[in-house]
């Protein structure tokens, strides 16, 4: 029977792989907005990886980092949007 901790680690690895899949879009993205979208998605995947890694490593104290990752990456997108829209931040 598969150990549930190993399952959690596997899911964390898979989420990080999805983030790796997004790097070409950050590299290529013809406009700034494309890069922002890819970056936000990558940091959501990073937050999920943190959650599953915390569950696998059995430390609940890692979990807060996921909250910060989700909230600040998306709210960072708002700052980027302001930069795009106004020209001056």
């Amino acid at each position: 029977m598969i150990n549930i901790d190993q399952l959690y680690f596997a899911v964390a690895i898979a989420e990080a792989c999805v983030a790796l899949l997004l790097l070409p879009r950050i590299a290529r993205g013809p406009s700034v907005s494309d890069r922002i979208v890819a970056l936000n998605t990558a940091s959501t995947q990073a937050a999920l990886a943190v959650l599953f890694y915390a569950a696998g490593a059995d430390r609940a104290i890692y979990l807060d980092v996921a909250i910060w990752l989700v909230s600040f990456s998306y709210l960072g997108a708002i700052v980027w949007a302001r930069f795009l829209e106004r020209g001056l931040i």
Binding site: D64, S71, I78
Partner: protein, 328 residues
């Protein structure tokens, strides 16, 4: 990326610089690699400073978090120095980004002295070009009153920059919901000193919340809170709190940054003694310091003074007059 569209970065990059940089970088890489291969690996035992911190955290300081104990307790003097390094960096940012006129706020102070300048020195006329660029700058800085408060009434999809101060109602609502939660959680990071957290992350979170409010609501709305009179006073108060905490240790206990507060049970808010007090001071210091730094860079005013040929070389401690000035 298309190289021809970015003339400064890609086009005029000389080849020899690339090769020289590559060689120097590879040399550094070899040196660093040799050094890092000799660094202690993951099998090495913990150094004695670390084991001391781990062993003394719970019984001596009643703290469940050794990192906080190291930061504010046993290596408190180190953090004390770091704090004032931060303060020095902030002061240098304030000095480097200061406008010519006396400062009133972080935003729009570049026009503060204009009327006085007109009265005192009416002879100094600005030419037409400078007036036009100044007007454009003023418009960009959001000082005109014709812009709406928010862009919700503007027709959708209009091109060009927004005149409005804040973002749309959707974004503002989301920030109104999220920012208080984040601010409270940032303070919780500091108060809950026996989980990961403390003054440094808490201060960074407060900076993040301030920047969110700035991005969402515009500079006019946060100018009441984010003004130099308040932020710099708070920063100095934080520095005084830290100095006072440390010096009281010297007076009462006999050692600099010694603990002079009673220790509560582990897992409560007073458990660390002066560690928690130092952490609060650090929160104020980091939050306001980083805010001043970011707002200072945000408030750099444009330098619209017209170019005068050779002006720089005259000021330039008598070096030879340059031919490069003509290229501009």
């Amino acid at each position: 990326m298309t190289k021809e569209k970015h003339p400064i970065v890609a086009d005029r990059e000389p080849r020899h610089r690339l090769w020289l940089g590559l060689v120097l970088t590879l040399g550094t890489a070899v040196a660093l690699g040799a050094a890092y291969l000799a660094a202690p690996r993951e099998n090495a035992p913990l150094p004695s400073a670390a084991t001391y911190a781990l062993v003394t955290a719970l019984p001596d300081w009643k703290l469940l978090e050794p990192v906080n104990e190291v930061v504010y307790g046993s290596r408190g003097f180190d953090t004390f120095g770091e704090t004032f390094l931060l303060l020095a960096a902030v002061v240098s940012i304030v000095v480097l980004t200061r406008p010519r006129e006396p400062r009133r706020g972080y935003f729009g102070e570049h026009t503060a002295g204009e009327r006085e300048q007109q009265e005192v020195d009416p002879d100094e006329r600005v030419d037409e070009e400078e007036r036009a660029t100044r007007a454009a700058d003023t418009r960009e800085q959001g000082k005109i009153s014709s812009g709406p408060e928010d862009p919700d009434s503007a027709p959708l999809g209009a091109h060009g920059p927004e005149r409005a101060e804040s973002l749309t109602v959707v974004t503002r609502t989301a920030i109104r919901v999220a920012a208080p939660i984040l601010a409270v959680t940032g303070c919780y990071l500091v108060a809950w000193g026996y989980s990961p957290g403390g003054g440094f992350p808490g201060g960074a979170v407060l900076l993040g919340v301030l920047l969110l409010a700035y991005a969402g609501f515009g500079r006019r709305r946060i100018a009441r809170v984010a003004r130099p009179g308040l932020l710099e006073t708070a920063e100095m108060a934080g520095a005084l709190l830290i100095i006072g905490t440390e010096l009281l240790g010297l007076v009462l206990v006999g050692s600099f940054s010694g603990n002079w507060l009673p220790l509560a049970e582990p897992g409560t808010i007073r458990s660390g003694g002066i560690v928690q007090l130092f952490s609060v001071g650090e929160l104020i210091e980091v939050g306001t310091g980083l805010s001043i730094a970011v707002l200072g860079v945000l408030s750099i005013s444009r330098d619209w003074a017209p170019d005068e040929e050779g002006q720089e070389s005259d000021e330039d401690d008598g070096q030879s007059p340059d031919e490069g000035g003509g290229e501009r």
